[in-house]
């Protein structure tokens, strides 16, 4: 299963990612990608959806309890668990 990394909040980027991500693929939002989570309610309810904790706190955002805040250590673990890794930007 694929690990999708989303590093921007751009409607085109998000659209492409969501169009091809399967139900068992995991999504990790990093950098400005975390803003997408703050503004898309549907995303927050998707299983296997994560956000990098550092990038959330940097931007002063509050995590919805449904979203798993990810340490770098957990991000590394996910990238071992899934294959391949596709970056959307």
């Amino acid at each position: 299963m694929t690990l999708h990394i989303v590093s921007q909040n751009n409607p085109f980027v998000l659209k492409n990612c969501l169009a091809v991500a399967g139900p068992n693929d995991a999504l990790v939002f990093i950098n400005d990608g975390v803003y997408a989570l703050a503004t898309h309610a549907a995303l927050v309810k998707r299983p296997l959806t994560y956000a990098l904790a550092h990038d959330i706190t940097t931007r002063g955002l509050t995590l919805n309890h449904l979203i798993e805040p990810l340490s770098y250590s957990q991000f590394v673990a996910l990238s071992c668990q899934y294959n391949p890794v596709q970056s959307w930007y």
Partner: protein, 135 residues
């Protein structure tokens, strides 16, 4: 597990500051006992190893941090030669090759990395368990 990281973002880009994410990801995976087959700096990412970049005091010096990480773990760090030349990041060879009496150039590639071709990227994907792009 064996990783290759491809870094497209510069420390100061118009788009994307994932250069910081890439550095912290690399640092973490090494601390966890995973290994890096190669760092490949491509596109604007070549500026991560620009020795001329002066970071203001009190700010995190990303080029210096990359250099220290590369040295500490003896990482294979390749900067795409074509991308680097276009953006003014030169090693000793390229500095000598392009220098003219009218044009004084510097070797401004941080030590520990080398300029090389795209074959190094393709080779790295074939020999790594994971390839991750940061842009």
């Amino acid at each position: 597990m064996l990783f290759t990281l491809v870094i497209h973002a510069a420390p100061h880009s118009l788009l994307g500051s994932t250069a910081y994410n890439a550095y912290q990801f690399a640092q973490c995976l090494l601390q966890e006992g995973h290994r890096i087959h190669r760092l490949f700096f491509y596109g604007e990412g070549v500026h991560n190893l620009n020795a001329q970049a002066i970071t203001p005091q009190g700010e995190f010096d990303l080029p210096a941090a990359w250099q220290a990480l590369i040295e500490q773990y003896q990482l294979d760090s390749v900067v795409c030669i074509a991308a680097a030349l276009r953006r003014g990041v030169l090693d000793d060879n390229e500095q000598k090759r392009h220098q003219t009496p009218q044009r004084a150039l510097a070797n401004n590639l941080l030590t520990g990395s080398e300029l090389s071709g795209l074959g190094q990227l393709i080779d790295a994907t074939a020999h790594s368990d994971r390839t991750i792009t940061f842009a």
